[in-house]
Symmetry: C2
Subunit: 359 residues, 2 copies
C-alpha cells in the first residue's frame, strides 16, 4: 500500500478513475492523516444506522450525518473522501457539492442512481458505485410472482373472498407465455433467467439490438418498442432511469400492446407515462399492471391507480427482502476494504450512461 | 383386432384387467354388434359437451346422459362397455351399479377419483382410469404462485391498496426456503420439480420413507408427519384422498408446524381437518393458508375461513387453465382409441390404493 494520491477525485482532470494493475503506484494511498479513509455516512431520521457500523469504523474515520450536517461532514478537517448514501434516494450531495472538495467516491445503497446524479458530479472524477447485484434475485422473484398471480387471478380471488363468493374460473398457463424484459442490466438478466426457468418465452429489450445473448437470446432495440411490443403477454420494465428511458412506456407503446397483456414496472415510475397508463387501464388497452414504482412516491392519495381493480400496487419494495439493509451495508464494507487497500471499488456506475455497464 | 371378449369387466372373475401383449387374443374384441365400443358420457346441465364429441362418435357408439338417464344409458340394448365421467365429481355410477352389467371401463376426467369410487366398483374388474398428467403443470404453477404471493405479501398489498395506504415492508426471499410436498404422485412431482427450479429446498412425504427419489430426493413417511413438519416453511398437500390420508393435516400436525409456516392445499379439502385449521389460524399456530379445496364445496357462506386475512381462498380451480376441458376430452379420445384396438387404456387407477401407481 503506497502513500501517494489516488488519481481520481473531484479535482482530478484524468478521465478514468482507477488503474486496475496492482503494481501501479497511482492506485493507492490516501490524504487522511491516519492513513484511513474518511467516510461520511448520510442517513436520515427514522433510518437505523448500518448494522456493521463498528466494522466500518475499524477501516475508516466515520462521520454520520443527515442532510443538514452533510456539508460539514464532507469538508471539516481534512475532508471526507468517501460518501455513503445510506439514505439512498437523497439528492443532498448536489446541494453540498461546493463543500465536497476532497470527495473521491460515492457509494449509493440502491440499484438505480438516477435520484442522486447531477451534472457537476457527472463531469467530475468522483467515482459512483451502487448496490449492483443485491436486488437481482429478490426482484426476479417478485416479477415471477406478479406474473403468476395475474395469470391465476389471485387478486380477483381475494376480491371474491371478501364478498364470500365462490366462482370457479379458467386461468392461464404461465409456461409458454411470452415476456419482454426491458432493461438488460443485472436485475433484468436475473428476471430473464428465472422466467425462462419456469417456461416463459423471454426476449430482452435494450439500447442495441443483438442476438445470442446468454440470458435473453434476442435483445431488441428499445427505440423500436412500439413496433414489436404487441407480441408479448408480459412486459417488464427494469431499465435504469435515464434521459433515454424516461417515458419509454408512452401512450403509443401502450396502444401497441396486446389488450390481454400485463405490464410489470419494478424499475422507476418515470419509465412509464403514468397518465397514459391510467388512460390505457381505463380503456382496456392493456389487461393489467403490477406497479411497484410511481412518478411520485408515496403514490398520492388522489391517484386513480389506487381504485383500479386490474392495477396491483406495492410500495417500492420489490427488492426489499428481510435483511436487505444488512446486505447493502456488507457490500459497502467489502468495497470500502478494497478502497482502503488502494484499489478501485467494485460496481462503478458509468455516470454518462447512468448505470453499471454490463461486465 | 380380434372378436373375442376382453378379459376384464364387471362380470369377469379374473383379477387383472388387460394383458398387455399385442399377441394375446384375450386383450381385444368387443361385444358391440358394430364392433365399436358403446360409450355412455355422463354430463350435467350447464356443462358443455366434449368439443371432440364428433371424433368420439367416429370411434364409438355414444350415449350422452345425465344422472337421471345414466341407468338406461348403461343398460339399454347391448349395454355400454365404457363410461366417461365428463361430470367428474358425480357419484351417480354407485346408484346405477345394478344396471352396469356390461361395463368394463370408467374414465374419470379428474386427477382424484375419490368422489366416484365405491366398494362394489373396487371389487369388480371394471377398470378405472383418470386424467393423470393433465393437471401437473398448471397446479405446480399455482402452488409456486401461492408461495411467492405469500412471501411477497401480495394479499396484504391488495388490502392496503383498497385503503390507499402506502406501506413499504420487508418481504421474504423465496429461494432457499423449505417446502414439504405431501403426495408423491404426478402432480406432487411436478410441484417438487418447479419449486426446486426456483431455488426452494424441497422434501417429499408419502406412504413409505425413502431416499434418492429423482424429484424429491428424500421422501419422509406421512405416518410421522407431526415429528418433522415443523422443519418446513411451506407445506403443500396434494396427496390422493384415501382412508389413510383423510384428516392427515390434523390438529396435532398443525400444532407441530412453524408459526411462520404456510399451508397450501391443492389436493382435497378432507386432507385437512378444517375445524382444526380454523382454530390454528385463529391462534396463529401457522401464519397463512392458501386453500383451493374444502370439506364442502362451494365453501359455505358461514365458514369463518372467508373472513380470515391470512387465508387465501380460490374456488377449486388450481388446475383449470384455459382449454383444460378440451385437454381432458382429447386424453379420453386417445385412450378410447387404444381401447378400441383391444389394448389396455392408460392411467389405470389402483382401486385399492385410490390412485394411479407411480410408473
Amino acid at each position: 500500500m503506497g502513500t501517494g494520491q489516488n488519481t481520481f477525485g473531484k479535482g482530478s482532470s484524468s478521465a478514468s478513475g482507477f488503474v486496475s494493475g496492482t503494481g501501479s503506484s497511482s492506485a493507492s494511498g490516501f490524504v487522511s492523516g491516519t492513513g484511513q479513509p474518511v467516510v461520511a455516512i448520510l442517513t436520515r431520521d427514522g433510518l437505523d444506522e448500518p448494522a456493521n457500523l463498528a466494522q466500518i469504523r475499524e477501516v475508516a474515520e466515520v462521520r454520520v450525518c443527515t442532510t443538514n450536517s452533510l456539508g460539514p461532514a464532507l469538508s471539516d478537517g481534512q475532508g471526507a473522501d468517501v460518501l455513503l448514501l445510506w439514505d439512498f434516494f437523497s439528492a443532498a450531495l448536489r446541494d453540498n457539492w461546493a463543500q465536497a472538495n476532497t470527495l473521491r467516491w460515492v457509494h449509493v445503497c440502491a440499484a438505480g442512481v438516477d435520484a442522486m446524479l447531477f451534472d457537476e458530479l457527472r463531469s467530475s472524477d468522483v467515482i459512483v458505485t451502487n448496490a449492483h447485484g443485491v436486488f437481482d434475485g429478490p426482484i426476479a422473484e417478485f416479477v415471477l410472482g406478479s406474473i403468476i398471480a395475474q395469470d391465476k387471478q389471485f387478486h380477483r380471488s381475494q376480491r371474491l373472498q371478501q364478498q364470500k363468493r365462490w366462482e370457479r374460473r379458467d386461468t392461464i398457463r404461465t409456461a409458454g407465455r411470452s415476456a419482454l424484459v426491458i432493461g438488460t442490466g443485472g436485475i433484468g438478466r436475473a428476471v430473464a433467467r428465472l422466467l425462462r426457468t419456469v417456461g416463459l418465452q423471454v426476449t430482452g429489450a435494450g439500447r442495441t439490438e443483438r442476438t445470442g445473448d446468454p440470458d435473453f437470446g434476442t435483445v431488441l432495440a428499445t427505440d423500436d418498442l412500439s413496433r414489436y411490443v404487441g407480441r408479448f403477454d408480459n412486459v417488464i420494465t427494469i431499465a435504469p432511469l435515464t434521459e433515454q428511458t424516461t417515458g419509454l412506456i408512452s401512450a403509443e407503446v401502450l396502444a401497441a400492446m396486446k389488450p390481454t397483456s400485463h405490464l410489470i414496472n419494478v424499475g422507476r415510475g418515470q419509465l412509464v407515462n403514468e397518465l397514459a397508463l391510467i388512460e390505457a387501464m381505463r380503456t382496456g388497452a392493456i389487461a393489467a399492471a403490477s406497479l411497484d414504482v410511481f412518478d411520485t412516491e408515496p403514490l398520492p392519495e388522489l391517484s386513480p391507480l389506487w381504485d383500479m381493480e386490474n392495477v396491483h400496487i406495492s410500495a417500492h419494495m420489490s427488492g426489499d427482502v428481510v435483511g436487505w439493509r444488512d446486505e447493502l451495508a456488507d457490500r459497502f464494507l467489502d468495497n470500502l476494504r478494497t478502497y482502503a487497500q488502494g484499489e478501485a471499488p467494485a460496481n462503478q456506475v458509468d455516470k454518462a450512461l447512468g448505470y453499471v455497464r454490463a461486465g
